[in-house]
C-alpha cells in the first residue's frame, strides 16, 4: 500500500501516481483530499483507493475495475461513466451520483443529491439515506436502490432499468410507474445489501418505465423520393418539399423527423467570390507539390495535435446514423488522405478505430458508448454541445435503426425511438464545463486534445466560453450542416448560417485575444475545395466535411436517412441493405474526392499568390449578395459573380 498526500502534491501529479501504482497492483491511500476534484479519474486497474476525507467532483470518474472507498462526502458526478468496480461513500454525495455508469456498484451511506443515476446503463447505485429530485432521470438500464425517501419525480423519463425505494415515494416522474416487485428481485437486493454490510429489513416499492414515450405512435415511412434540387426548389411556398411535409404530417399527426439538412436558401460560401482573377489556377505545374497544406490542430495546451495533410477533417457522423461499413469506408478514406475522422455519437467500434489512423471520439449528453478505454485510444476527444443542423437538440435515431447490436454498444434498450438527451448531466454552465474538460484531461493524462463541437447559436458568447474553459480547438457547425435525423422545422428555421458563424467566432476570439491560439474547424455545408478555401480565408484553421464525403461514397441524397432502409446501404442498420455497400470501393471513391479537394485548395491558394494555406485571409474575398455582405462584413461586389461562375467551371 502506498500513500499520496494531497496536502503535498497536486491532483494532476496524484492521479499520475495513482495510475502508475494501480498498474503495479498496489493499493493506494489518499490523505488530505480536502474535497479536491477528479481524484482517481481514469483508473483502470483492480486496486483499492482509500480516500481519507472528502472528495470533490467526478471522484472515481471514468474508472474501470478499481475499488474506491471515501471516508466522507463527495461532490457532483461520483463514479461518472464507471464500468466495473465499486465505490463506497461514507458521507453524502452531491448531484448526479452514479451518472452514466455501465456496471459499477456504488453505495452512498448518506444522502445523494439531485438526478442520481442520470443516463446510467447498467450496474447498481445504492443510496442508504434519502435521494433528491429526479433520481433515475433518463436512465437506460441498471438498478437504483434508495433506502430512504425517493425525492420528487423519481424515474423522470427513464427508458429502462429499475428503481427500488424503501422509504416514501414523494412523486413519480414523467413516464414512470409503480409496478409489482418479484421475490427474486428482493432477494437480489438483500444479497447486495449484505455484501455491502447495510442493515435494512424494510420492504420496497419498484418503479419502472411506463412505456408511453419510448416510441412515436406512428412512424414516418418513405413515400416517394424527391431529388434534392427539386426538394429545395426555388420557391419557399409550394414546392414539392412543402407538399411532402403536409402529406406526411397528415399521416403521422406530429412534426416530421427526417434526414439530410435544411432546404431553405441561405447565404452561403457560394455567395462569396475571390477578389483576384484566378483564371490561372492550376496551370503552373503541380499546385499540390508547391503549396504547404500540412496543418496541426489541437496543440494549444500541450496535447498531441491532430496532424492533417491538408486543412480538412471528416465531420462527426455516428455509427448508428450510418452503417458500420460506411463508417469503415470513411475511416479508410481519411487514412488514405492523411486527415482525421470523427466517431460522432454512439461509441467507437474496432472496425472504425482500425480503419482511421486519426480518430476523434465524440462525447454527448447521453454518454452512449462513451468509455475510458476508447478515450485512451482516441486521437482527440470532443464534447458535443450542439449541432448546426439542430442546435439545442440531441441526436435522434428512429427505432428501425436501434438494432440489438447498436443498442448493446450504446447501452440502451433495443428498438426505441432514441432521442438522446439534449444536454449533458454535468454541464449546466461554463463553470461546470471547465471541470468536465479537466476531468477528461486528468483521465487521459493531458496528451489528447479536447475539443468542443458548437452548433452555431450564441456564437459570440459560446466561442469565448470555449476559449476560457481551455479547449484545444472548436468544431463550429453552421446551419447548413446535415443530420441523420432531425425535426424538419428545426433544420429549416433554427440555427445560424455557416457564414455568420465563422465571422462572429473570429470577432469574438479577437475580443478575448484568442485569435491564432485556439483553432477553429468550420463545418456546415462545405462542399468542395473552393468552399474550403473560402472558409479558411474567413479565419477557420481547417474545415470539416460530412455530406460531401457521404455523397462521394455513394449517397443518392434521397433525404430518407431517418427511415433506416437506405437503398445504398449507408444510412441503415439492416444487413440486407448494408450488403449493397462495398466499403473498399467506396473508400476509394471518397479518397479520390478528397484528393480532388486537395488539388482545389492547392490550386486556389497558389493562384492567390500564396505558398501556404495559412496565408489565406479575408481580404481575398468579396460578397456577391447583400445578405452575405451583411453577415461577413465583406465588401458587397456583385460584379464578381461571373468570375466566380467561371472559376467553378474551371476548377469545380
Amino acid at each position: 500500500m502506498v500513500q499520496i498526500d494531497l496536502g503535498q502534491v497536486s491532483v494532476r501529479d496524484a492521479n499520475e501516481q495513482i495510475r502508475k501504482w494501480g498498474a503495479e497492483g498496489e493499493d493506494i491511500e489518499v490523505l488530505n483530499p480536502d474535497a479536491r476534484h477528479h481524484i482517481g479519474v481514469g483508473l483502470i486497474h483492480p486496486v483499492r483507493v482509500h480516500i481519507k476525507g472528502s472528495a470533490g467532483y467526478f471522484c472515481a470518474g471514468l474508472a474501470d475495475q478499481a475499488r474506491f472507498e471515501i471516508d466522507n462526502n463527495v461532490g457532483w458526478g461520483l463514479g461518472d461513466n464507471m464500468y466495473a468496480g465499486t465505490v463506497t461513500v461514507r458521507g453524502n454525495a452531491g448531484a448526479i451520483a452514479g451518472v452514466a455508469i455501465r456496471g459499477a456498484e456504488i453505495v452512498v451511506h448518506g444522502n445523494v443529491g439531485s438526478r442520481a443515476g442520470q443516463v446510467m446503463k447498467a450496474g447498481t447505485l445504492c443510496c442508504v439515506g434519502n435521494a433528491n429530485f429526479m433520481a433515475g432521470y433518463m436512465m437506460y438500464g441498471g438498478r437504483i436502490i434508495i433506502l430512504g425517501e425517493s425525492g420528487e419525480r423519481v424515474g423522470e423519463d427513464m427508458a429502462a432499468g429499475d428503481i427500488f425505494v424503501g422509504g416514501a415515494v414523494r412523486s413519480l416522474g414523467s413516464d414512470a410507474q409503480l409496478t409489482d416487485i418479484e421475490e427474486t428481485e428482493v432477494d437480489d437486493i438483500r444479497a447486495f445489501l449484505d455484501r455491502h454490510e447495510i442493515a435494512y429489513k424494510g420492504g420496497f416499492q419498484k418503479i419502472v418505465n411506463a412505456g408511453k414515450r419510448l416510441r412515436y405512435a406512428t412512424s414516418e415511412q418513405q413515400v416517394r423520393s424527391i431529388p434534392f434540387f427539386t426538394f429545395s426548389g426555388t420557391s419557399d411556398y409550394w414546392n414539392p418539399k412543402v407538399q411532402e411535409d403536409v402529406y406526411i404530417k397528415s399521416q403521422i399527426g406530429r412534426y416530421r423527423v427526417r434526414g439530410y439538412g435544411g432546404a431553405r436558401t441561405l447565404p452561403h460560401l457560394s455567395d462569396l467570390a475571390f477578389k483576384r482573377d484566378l483564371s490561372s489556377a492550376g496551370t503552373a505545374g503541380d499546385p499540390v507539390a508547391a503549396v504547404e497544406m500540412y496543418t496541426e490542430i489541437g496543440g494549444l495546451n500541450g496535447a498531441r495535435p491532430l496532424k492533417l495533410s491538408m486543412p480538412v477533417m471528416i465531420a462527426p457522423m455516428s455509427y448508428g446514423a450510418l452503417s458500420r461499413s460506411t463508417k469503415q469506408a470513411v475511416g479508410m478514406a481519411s487514412s488514405m488522405a492523411g486527415i482525421a475522422e470523427n466517431t460522432g455519437e454512439g461509441g467507437m467500434s474496432d472496425a472504425q478505430r482500425g480503419a482511421a489512423e486519426q480518430l476523434v471520439f465524440q462525447c454527448l449528453g447521453g454518454r452512449l458508448g462513451w468509455n475510458i478505454h476508447d478515450m485512451n485510444r482516441a486521437d482527440g476527444l470532443e464534447i458535443y454541445i450542439s449541432q448546426g443542423a439542430k442546435p439545442g437538440f440531441g441526436g435522434q435515431l428512429m427505432a428501425k435503426k436501434v438494432t440489438k447490436e447498436l443498442a448493446t454498444i450504446r447501452g440502451i434498450p433495443e428498438g426505441i425511438d432514441l432521442r438522446s438527451p439534449s444536454r449533458h448531466p454535468d454541464i449546466l454552465g461554463a463553470d461546470d464545463l471547465v471541470i468536465k474538460v479537466e476531468e477528461f484531461r486528468e483521465a487521459t493524462g493531458y496528451c489528447i486534445p479536447v475539443s468542443v463541437k458548437l452548433g452555431a447559436g450564441r456564437v459570440r458568447d459560446d466561442i469565448k466560453i470555449a476559449y476560457k474553459d481551455g479547449f484545444d480547438f472548436v468544431e463550429l457547425d453552421g446551419m447548413q450542416g446535415s443530420t441523420g435525423a432531425g425535426g424538419a422545422e428545426v433544420m429549416e428555421h433554427v440555427g445560424v448560417p455557416t457564414l455568420a458563424a465563422i465571422t462572429q467566432a473570429m470577432a469574438a476570439l479577437g475580443e478575448v485575444e484568442g485569435l491564432g491560439k485556439m483553432e477553429v474547424v468550420l463545418m456546415g455545408g462545405v462542399r468542395d475545395g473552393i468552399d474550403a478555401v473560402k472558409g479558411l480565408c474567413l479565419g477557420a484553421n481547417a474545415v470539416a466535411m460530412g455530406t460531401a464525403v457521404i455523397i462521394a461514397g455513394g449517397c443518392i441524397a434521397c433525404m430518407q436517412c431517418h427511415v433506416g432502409q437506405c437503398v445504398t446501404g449507408i444510412a441503415t442498420q439492416d444487413p440486407q441493405h448494408e450488403r449493397r455497400y462495398n466499403p473498399v470501393a467506396e473508400a476509394r471513391n471518397i479518397h479520390r474526392y478528397l484528393e480532388g479537394v486537395r488539388w482545389q485548395i492547392a490550386a486556389l491558394t497558389q493562384a492567390l499568390g500564396y505558398g501556404s494555406t495559412t496565408q489565406l485571409c479575408r481580404d481575398d474575398l468579396v460578397a456577391l449578395t447583400r445578405d452575405a455582405a451583411e453577415m461577413t462584413g465583406l465588401p458587397y461586389a456583385p460584379e464578381y459573380r461571373e468570375r466566380e461562375l467561371a472559376l467553378r467551371g474551371r476548377v469545380g
Partner: protein
C-alpha cells in the same frame, strides 16, 4: 457562470477574519470564474456614517452623459460635489485601485441620494457596515489592491466570475448591491429567465436599475421586500417562486446572511455550520479551505429551499 461563497461569524470573527476566509474560499473555486472577483465585507467600523464606493476608472470616464468625463480626477470632483449638494458631509475619502471610497455623515433620503449619485458616477456599494470591493482578476489580485485580508469583519460574501454574456469589466463583477438601498449585497450563480418581466414590474414602481445584470434584480427584489418590513427569510421564500430560471444565490444584510436555491437545483451549493460560523459555497473544496485536512459534516440544501442566519452578538 461562477462560484459563490459566504461566511458569517456568529459571535464576531476571532482569529481568521472575514476577508481572509473569503479569499481562501474563492481561491478554492477560482476555476469556476477566472475573469473577475469581488467581496462584500461587513464590519462595524463607522457607526452612524455611510460608506460609499464608486468605480472611477472606466474606459470613458466615470460620468458619461453629464459632460465632465475627463478622467478620474474630474469624476471624483463630480462625486464630491453631488454628495455635498445632497447635504452629505464627507468625513474621509480615498482613491484606491479602480475605486473611490468615501465616508459621509448623511441623514437624508438614501434612495434619492443613490439615484442621483448613480447619474454622476458608478456607485458599487453603500451602507453603514457594507463595503464591496471588486475588480477583474483572481481573489489574490483583488486582495493585492484592496487589502481584503485586513478586514476582520463580521460576515461577507464573495464571488468569482466567468463572463459569458457580458464583458469582463469591474462593474459587471459581483457582488451587486441593491440600487437605492443600503447594506444589501448579493452574489449569484445562475440565470434569471424572467428578468425583464420582473424588472419592468419593479421599474413601474419607481425603482431604477443600473446594469442589465440579473443579480442586481435579485438584490432590488429582496431590498424592496425588506424595506416593506418583510423578514429576509420570507423574502427569500417568495423569491423562489417569483424568479424563474436556474439559480443559487446568497444575500447579506447588516445582520443576516441567507441563501435561496431554485426548484431545479441545477447550480451547486453546499454549507457547513458549527457553533461559531456558517460557511456556504458552490463547492465543498472551498469550505475545506477553511478547515484543511478535516472531513466536514456538510449539507447540500435541497431544491427550492432557502434559509437565513443572524449574528448572535
Amino acid at each position: 457562470m461562477c462560484g459563490i461563497a459566504g461566511v458569517m461569524f456568529k459571535h464576531g470573527s476571532t482569529g481568521l477574519g472575514t476577508g481572509q476566509a473569503l479569499i481562501d474560499m474563492l481561491d478554492g473555486c477560482q476555476h469556476r470564474g477566472p475573469d473577475s472577483t469581488g467581496f462584500a465585507l461587513y464590519e462595524d467600523v463607522e457607526p452612524g456614517k455611510l460608506r460609499l464606493r464608486f468605480l472611477v476608472e472606466e474606459e470613458n470616464g466615470a460620468s458619461d452623459g453629464v459632460g465632465h468625463n475627463s478622467g478620474v480626477e474630474a469624476a471624483i470632483a463630480d462625486i464630491r460635489t453631488t454628495l455635498e449638494d445632497h447635504g452629505a458631509e464627507i468625513v474621509e475619502d480615498e482613491h484606491v485601485g479602480n475605486s473611490y471610497r468615501v465616508v459621509v455623515r448623511f441623514s437624508g433620503d438614501v434612495q434619492k441620494l443613490t439615484y442621483d449619485m448613480e447619474h454622476a458616477a458608478t456607485l458599487i456599494s453603500i451602507g453603514e457596515s457594507l463595503d464591496i470591493r471588486k475588480d477583474v482578476g483572481g481573489a489574490h489580485d483583488v486582495d493585492d489592491v484592496f487589502h481584503v485580508r485586513e478586514v476582520q469583519g463580521t460576515h461577507g460574501l464573495g464571488h468569482v466570475r466567468l463572463a459569458t454574456e457580458s464583458e469582463v469589466k469591474p462593474e459587471a463583477a459581483h457582488p451587486f448591491w441593491a440600487t437605492g438601498f443600503t447594506d444589501i449585497a448579493i452574489v449569484h450563480n445562475g440565470q434569471i429567465t424572467n428578468y425583464w418581466k420582473m424588472r419592468r414590474r419593479l421599474e413601474r414602481r419607481g425603482f431604477e436599475f443600473h446594469t442589465d445584470n440579473d443579480s442586481e434584480l435579485i438584490a432590488v427584489y429582496l431590498a424592496d421586500k425588506l424595506a416593506n418590513e418583510v423578514p429576509l427569510e420570507d423574502a427569500l421564500k417568495t423569491s423562489i417562486d417569483d424568479l424563474d430560471g436556474t439559480f443559487s444565490f446568497l444575500v447579506s444584510t447588516k445582520d443576516e446572511i441567507g441563501y435561496a436555491k431554485d426548484h431545479l437545483a441545477a447550480k451547486p451549493m453546499i454549507m457547513y455550520e458549527n457553533d461559531d460560523l456558517i460557511a456556504i459555497a458552490s463547492e465543498e473544496v472551498s469550505l475545506n479551505r477553511l478547515f484543511p485536512g478535516r472531513a466536514l459534516d456538510t449539507r447540500e440544501p435541497p431544491p427550492g429551499s432557502y434559509g437565513t442566519w443572524s449574528r448572535l452578538t
